[in-house]
Symmetry: C2
């Protein structure tokens, strides 16, 4: 019998604002960070690793929430936990005092994501399988048991969920074989951060083409003239046939979004991502009707399955970009995938940040194998940074994620990375004076006014 003996939570921050990686119209100076959870067991060879993603300040608050959220796991038998991953999820979720702080949104939900990601990583390690394969070997009934269907029965019952999954049972093995050959298609945002110069944009677009990408995404929304110039450069480099996506990171009100996107229509974007508040289901639906055939994409700040339910009901989305570290891990993500299947909306998960690519590859592979069974209109985000901190980093070849083979959810970071970027006492931050004050993000902040 193996017991969960303790939980370590580390506040890990990378000084990405130094290079403007990740800069966009809303988030100009993020220091990509993780609230990183380790579930220790009395087997020194076995632990579960998970995290949620933030962009700097407040990562300590999320880390505290992770610690509190994980405590009920301590003392449990690992076999019980991984033997009923629906029950452990429901146990954590049922704390009504913690629930009050959301419910199911914000810091508490990020913590739930981190902790349950670690639980799923643990389960996959115990099974000796990469998580996508563990999920792909579960029966429709087992998957329905772990999925969080609360508040969804007006659009998806348990029986319907099982039915959708049963339909896709034939061909699971064949689809795995296909992906093992081709990889899962991805696109790159690495070219298009707002803080990059025109020359860097041009060079990175060319490099993306050369690397085999057929989809490229640019940030927009700070200045319309700049956006027109940058999109023109991108189209010059990539030509008319490669897909170009644009991402406004929530800066517009609904009427402004419609006006701005219309002004960029000549560049034929495949989608406009996060045109307005991520909470605005009806606003997204209005924008979608107005800017068609340009698609509407959102979801990286989609707080929970109830929001996605309504996005589907209101026909507000062309592309669902759920986030692996904001939704409450597989239990909730699975519910969103099942609803997306029912409503015929492709899921193109959000990635980038730190470690999100490592996680979402498992989700996309599982979706193709066991839920959607199609790659049509599917392309998963890939951003080329911070992978060196992971023990089992994702690998992209010719524009496709290579299927992971190591057991787990690919969430484990190197000990050396943790020692260096742990905040505020890791080597990097100690050298930097013990705080984020060495990065542009904090220097901008220290004046009191931020933009």
């Amino acid at each position: 019998m193996t017991i969960i003996t303790g939980v370590d939570v580390l506040d890990v921050r990378f000084p990405t604002s130094l290079s403007m990686d990740g800069s966009d119209a809303m988030n100009k100076d993020g220091d990509y960070s993780a609230a990183y959870v380790i579930l220790r067991t009395d087997d020194p060879e076995l632990a579960g690793y998970g995290f949620t993603f933030t962009i700097g300040r407040g990562n300590d608050i999320v880390s505290l929430a992770c610690d509190r959220r994980a405590q009920p796991l301590v003392g449990l038998d690992v076999a019980d936990v991984v033997g009923d991953l629906g029950a452990v999820y429901r146990t954590l979720k049922s704390d009504s005092q913690m629930r009050w702080l959301g419910p199911e949104k914000g810091v508490e939900h990020l913590a739930m994501a981190a902790v349950m990601n670690a639980v799923w990583d643990l389960a996959a390690r115990v099974a000796g399988r990469p998580l996508w394969r563990l999920l792909s070997e579960m029966s429709p009934e087992q998957l329905a048991d772990v999925a969080d269907l609360q508040y969804l029965s007006d659009v998806l019952t348990r029986d319907e969920a099982i039915g959708l999954l049963r339909e896709m049972m034939p061909g699971r093995a064949q689809r795995i074989a296909e992906l093992e050959s081709s990889g899962y298609p991805c696109y790159t945002t690495s070219a298009g951060w707002l803080g990059y110069s025109d020359e860097k944009l041009r060079r990175l677009c060319q490099e993306a083409l050369d690397a085999g990408y057929r989809h490229i995404k640019l940030k927009v929304g700070a200045n319309l003239d700049d956006d027109i110039r940058r999109l023109r450069i991108a189209r010059e480099v990539i030509g008319p046939d490669v897909a170009l996506m644009i991402d406004a990171n929530q800066v517009w009100d609904v009427p402004e979004a419609i006006e701005w996107v219309t002004a960029l229509a000549e560049f034929r974007p495949l989608w406009i991502e996060e045109p307005t508040s991520p909470d605005d289901v009806l606003g997204h639906a209005t924008i979608r009707r107005a800017v068609a055939p340009i698609g509407v994409a959102t979801g990286e700040h989609g707080m929970n399955r109830v929001l996605f339910k309504q996005m589907f009901q209101a026909e507000a989305l062309d592309f669902c970009q759920l986030d692996s570290a904001r939704l409450a891990s597989i239990n909730e993500i699975l519910a969103v995938y099942l609803m997306a299947k029912k409503f015929g909306v492709p899921v193109c998960p959000h990635a980038g940040g730190v470690g999100l690519c490592e996680l979402v590859q498992h989700l996309s592979i599982f979706d193709y194998v066991a839920v959607s069974g199609t790659l049509e209109n599917r392309v998963t985000e890939y951003v080329d940074h911070l992978h060196e901190h992971f023990v089992d980093p994702c690998i992209v070849r010719r524009g496709g994620y290579v299927l992971p083979t190591a057991p787990g959810y690919s969430a484990q970071m190197h000990e050396e990375s943790l020692a260096r970027y742990r905040y505020p006492d890791g080597g990097y931050w100690r050298d930097a004076g013990g705080s984020q004050a060495s990065t542009p993000s904090e220097r901008a902040c220290s004046g009191g006014e931020k933009d």
Copy 2:
């Protein structure tokens, strides 16, 4: 010149789960708590007091978030802060790293509420007025300047907001005089907690009648037979003419809500409160269409103004129950009042908890004086507990809130209360062994499984 010199944040918890005060179908054992913020100045006679409300565990997380959120205020000139209450709000809100943790929801938003509540308390103290009067003396343009209208322009522009407020300028003084005579009408939830016996329910309903209440609310949703029995008792005591409201605290899916409420229709509830997930705009709209003429009420977990915007757009609500400690204080609350005015939905704020009655009386009075100008279908919650901890407690006479006269937002707690209920080092908790483990809430929790 007076400077904000520091911020104290206290984690204050009251062991309400001992008496089952506050018990409902979702929250069986809350320990009513506040993350309590004091903005200190270099004038020993001047400070700002604010808080947000939680129900126990996690109040430490919210307290940490309050501390982080308030730091940019330290060192500012009080005159600058209270002189532009829109600017200080936007400054705090503009931290994009913190924003990532919501945005504008969950723990971070609760913290924003607590901090800005303290800022508004400070402003009212500097003005020497109770907050409702400070607000009632602001011009339409001043009110529009402080209101957070971001993401709302598809339903409410700044010009429209000013127009709505201008319409109500005539008669402000007369409406104040009316309320000074009659008080602002309220209803009581004190009778109807789920954990109370039938005998206690019967007695409390009678006491509420005797105290002058014309509206009484009961918790429902745990067991249909129990609900039928309890509603029958209540109707027996209060007769056919007193309004009876029911509150399910989010326990149902949409189809279940419709079925359950239909089964209680014979008791003619005025409204069903929180029938399902507070995030489910479309679900509330569906329920509302199905259970009419029973009204639908929600809002105590309404996370932000974007959610309320959609509730109004989708015609999902008959009664808007915004929360004074979950929305980001007056800046955001004002936006919701203005939208409610435009859509013709009465606002009946959520109260109870600890200190919420103290806050919401100011909101309701201001609404009548300067926004809605009517009391039709308006009734503000009142729960009869924990008021003794406040320096300027609300006063209810014959079913109406008496207008507060002391300067501020009525948010300040007694020093002795803080010393006793500060967690975990206050006198009460030290005597209780230094943790919530002495209350039923934590005993239920310590087994690992909670309900």
